[in-house]
């Protein structure tokens, strides 16, 4: 079967799965899963650029997703002017001192001859600079966090529409990726992977602790939406008209009060679906744009160069390709896409909770999507994202159902039965690992393997 046929088959199966979910559970649930599938696809495309195109295994995805998330907060929340008034002076000095420290350190590193003197000068600059920064930063932080800690206690954001955060999220992630890439790229491939594991933990630690910027574990809730609210929809005339037109057949059979009641019920259902559809439209637009761009990049000379570097670094280097630079480029682009997806995710959730970022769910699951879908194949990554996410969500009800079915002969108070049903949801980790191992062993290219075009 060619890749073309396979992808049609895969998308038909996915469509069928959504149909089943929609009919068996509800359309609202199906759309919710669909939206997360779209976001996961964007993350998977970002990872595919890093792992599929260039062979960089980044296990710090969680960190970049979280960076996107904090961008959503920083863009959409109203600025807390009292906090700015309290802390801006010292904060500015702290930032300046930090900037001076960094530039001095870079200056020392570049201009001094390597040796003991440079090491001493460099360490002294960094240590003194950090203490000086803390000297100004600590009181600033204390005064900012003292302003209504139960409600704000942080600087707030820019008060712009949240959609801008999708752009900013990309840029923030790209900037941090540049910084990290400068330091860590050029390490051996497996060392780099371990280093990225640490990067994600550090980004998360910063978000949990720097309350003045992110509100930390106190979370930011109630982020504004780019789409209408359900309540507003239910009270707006055009929407109620739309609903009554849609359900015309059923409604016309009813009379007065029953009709009012039914219409109200339909409007509540429809508003939830309408909001989710709005999100789907936005997410699908982003996904399609990124998919098109990234596929064009893959088929361009740049894409061929990246694959050449991935398959044989030494020979690509001998052809004059700057490998470290290309790796840095690809690391930044991939991370930026993950950052965009992170902002989308927080927009959808409407809240930013740093403690909810866990590596299994926000790093390893996304990697599995790419590898199962087909590393190096963009459509494959999207297919992988859809299938794995549907499986991840639906494994829980299915697992519980299977366990209940399997333990049906047991007594209801049997402790083993209670344990099995209670813990059934954790088996999805087991099956996820199993799927990954089976794909790696028997079909290393994934569901839709990379297409290698040969010139005839």
């Amino acid at each position: 079967m060619s890749n073309y046929q396979k992808s049609w088959l895969a998308f038909s199966i996915i469509g069928l799965l959504f149909l089943i979910i929609g009919l068996a559970q509800s359309w609202s649930v199906a759309l919710g899963i669909f939206n997360m599938c779209l976001i996961s696809s964007v993350v998977a495309l970002g990872i595919n650029i890093q792992w599929g195109y260039a062979g960089i295994a980044n296990v710090g995805i969680m960190g970049f997703v979280a960076l996107g998330g904090i961008s959503a907060v920083l863009v959409s929340q109203q600025p807390v002017s009292a906090a700015w008034d309290a802390g801006w002076g010292r904060l500015l000095i702290a930032v300046l001192v930090f900037a001076i420290t960094v530039s001095l350190a870079i200056f020392c590193y570049r201009k001094m001859a390597a040796g003991r003197h440079r090491t001493i000068a460099l360490s002294a600059t960094i240590i003194l600079g950090l203490f000086a920064t803390r000297y100004f930063l600590d009181p600033a932080v204390a005064s900012i966090e003292a302003i209504e800690p139960a409600k704000t206690g942080y600087l707030g954001g820019m008060g712009l529409p949240i959609l801008f955060s999708w752009v900013l999220g990309g840029f923030v992630a790209a900037g941090i990726a540049w910084l990290i890439g400068k330091i860590a790229l050029g390490l051996r491939a497996d060392y780099l992977t371990i280093a990225t594991l640490g990067i994600a933990e550090i980004i998360l630690a910063l978000m949990k602790n720097e309350d003045w910027l992110t509100r930390g574990v106190k979370n930011v809730t109630g982020l504004p939406r780019p789409v209408p609210y359900e309540v507003d929809l239910q009270s707006s005339e055009w929407f109620v008209d739309l609903v009554s037109w849609w359900h015309g057949g059923v409604l016309s059979a009813l009379i007065d009060i029953d009709r009012q009641q039914a219409l109200k019920q339909f409007a509540i259902e429809a508003s939830s679906i309408f909001v989710k559809l709005c999100y789907s439209g936005l997410f699908a637009t982003v996904l399609i744009v990124i998919l098109v761009l990234s596929t064009r990049a893959l088929n361009s000379p740049w894409g061929r160069m990246m694959r050449a570097i991935r398959d044989n670094e030494i020979s690509a280097g001998a052809m004059g390709k700057d490998i470290t630079r290309r790796h840095l480029q690809v690391f930044i682009i991939g991370s930026a896409i993950v950052g965009i997806a992170g902002a989308m995710m927080t927009t959808l959730d409407g809240q930013f909770t740093p403690t909810s970022y866990r590596p299994i769910r926000f790093t390893f699951l996304f990697l599995i999507m790419v590898i199962v879908g087909g590393s190096g194949n963009n459509i494959g990554s999207v297919v992988g994202a859809f299938i794995i996410w549907i499986f991840w969500i639906e494994a829980e009800p299915i697992g519980v159902w299977l366990m209940e079915f399997g333990t049906g002969w047991m007594d209801d108070n049997n402790s083993l039965k209670i344990h099995l049903i209670g813990n059934a949801q954790h088996m999805r980790l087991f099956f996820m690992g199993l799927v990954l191992l089976l794909v790696l062993r028997f079909s290393p290219g994934g569901i839709l393997p990379e297409v290698i075009r040969k010139r005839s």
């Binding site: 491939a189 813990n423 990954l436």
Partner: protein, 340 residues
């Protein structure tokens, strides 16, 4: 006289909050890092499943401990878990050998690059994580029994008349004692026995070792057995000392990798050294020194803030910075790596 007492008080504070916990935590990390470095040196890949292997071994140990407790069997003053440890080790050996047979063996034959094996080990990590969470659940489990303290802070204060107490937990003492025993046995095995020498030769130069008649299957088998022992013991000791939670064991991966790389990959002495460097750096950087300075400095100079360099949540940052620094400055690690 006053000043000397103050000085001793400050010293006891540091002993109590940095040296004693550092020795215990360092031993736990060192044992974990030893397992990682053995896999790295002989099977040649970064084993992401190691944290969950530790969790698996600990889980079996806990289950057997509970069973023993329900039978009314205890180990006197020592934790019952020590009696259950062999069962945990046997189970872990079995699961690692099964994993090797079903998963890793194939990739050894086709000579896969290290990064692919790393991804494969992530799959194993998921499966083990799933098994552990399914059987024992994702929550905290405590299984320490017997005597809690070797030296209790209150008794220490009464004995010495100092303001500050020094407490040493049984779990901490046990950790250091067992770690020394285990590491001693491991080094004796690697240095003195025929199999140990074969393993070192295999790690040093695979082709040459094969030519000299070293049986690779046997080397791999022994390696997994050693890794299982190290992982189970490290996991159980960590669980006794702190508490058992599957997620924490996943998070231990980073400090353990950092320790293994810091000491030089494939170098057991390096892994131990690395474990202690990481553990002490974490504690030194995240400890709040206020009380120490209160004792040491005159009243006029007493610090107003906590004198804490970094909040405890940044302990991962410490492992990471040490890791990156070592990789940039001396990629082979403190002691030259790739030799067992």
């Amino acid at each position: 006289m006053e000043t000397i007492t103050d000085f001793i008080n400050a010293f006891v504070l540091l002993l109590n909050f940095i040296l004693v916990p550092g020795l215990a935590y360092g031993s736990q990390i060192a044992l974990g890092a030893l397992g990682i470095t053995m896999v790295y040196g002989i099977l040649r890949f970064a084993n992401f499943a190691h944290g969950d292997t530790m969790a698996f071994g600990t889980m079996v140990t806990i289950l057997v401990t509970w069973w023993l407790q329900s039978q009314g069997i205890s180990f006197g003053l020592l934790p019952t878990a020590l009696l259950a440890l062999p069962a945990g080790i046997v189970a872990t050996v079995m699961i690692l050998l099964i994993t090797d047979k079903l998963v890793y063996q194939h990739y050894r034959r086709v000579k896969t690059p290290a990064v692919t094996l790393l991804i494969v080990s992530m799959g194993v990590m998921f499966m083990m994580n799933g098994i552990v969470r399914f059987i024992i659940g994702p929550n905290d489990q405590r299984f320490l029994d017997g005597e809690k303290f070797i030296i209790h802070a209150r008794n220490f204060k009464a004995m010495t008349g100092l303001n500050e107490g020094l407490s040493i937990k049984v779990s901490q003492g046990l950790t250091v004692f067992i770690a020394i025993l285990l590491v001693g046995a491991l080094f004796w095995f690697l240095q003195k026995t025929r199999t140990g020498k074969a393993m070192r030769a295999f790690s040093d130069n695979e082709d040459l070792a094969l030519l000299s008649g070293v049986n690779p299957d046997r080397v791999v088998l022994i390696t997994w057995i050693i890794v299982a022992i190290l992982a189970t013991v490290a996991g159980t000791l960590y669980g006794l000392d702190k508490s058992f939670k599957p997620f924490t064991y996943l998070q231990l991966l980073l400090p353990m990798f950092a320790a293994a790389i810091l000491g030089g990959v494939g170098n057991p002495i390096g892994a131990i050294l690395g474990g202690f460097v990481i553990a002490f750096s974490e504690l030194i950087v995240t400890y709040a020194y206020k009380k120490v300075f209160v004792y040491l400095l005159p009243v006029s100079l007493e610090p107003s803030n906590l004198m804490q360099l970094l909040s405890t949540d940044y302990k991962f940052a410490v492992s990471f910075f040490i890791l990156v620094l070592v990789l940039l400055i001396k990629p082979t690690g403190i002691l030259k790596g790739n030799v067992i």
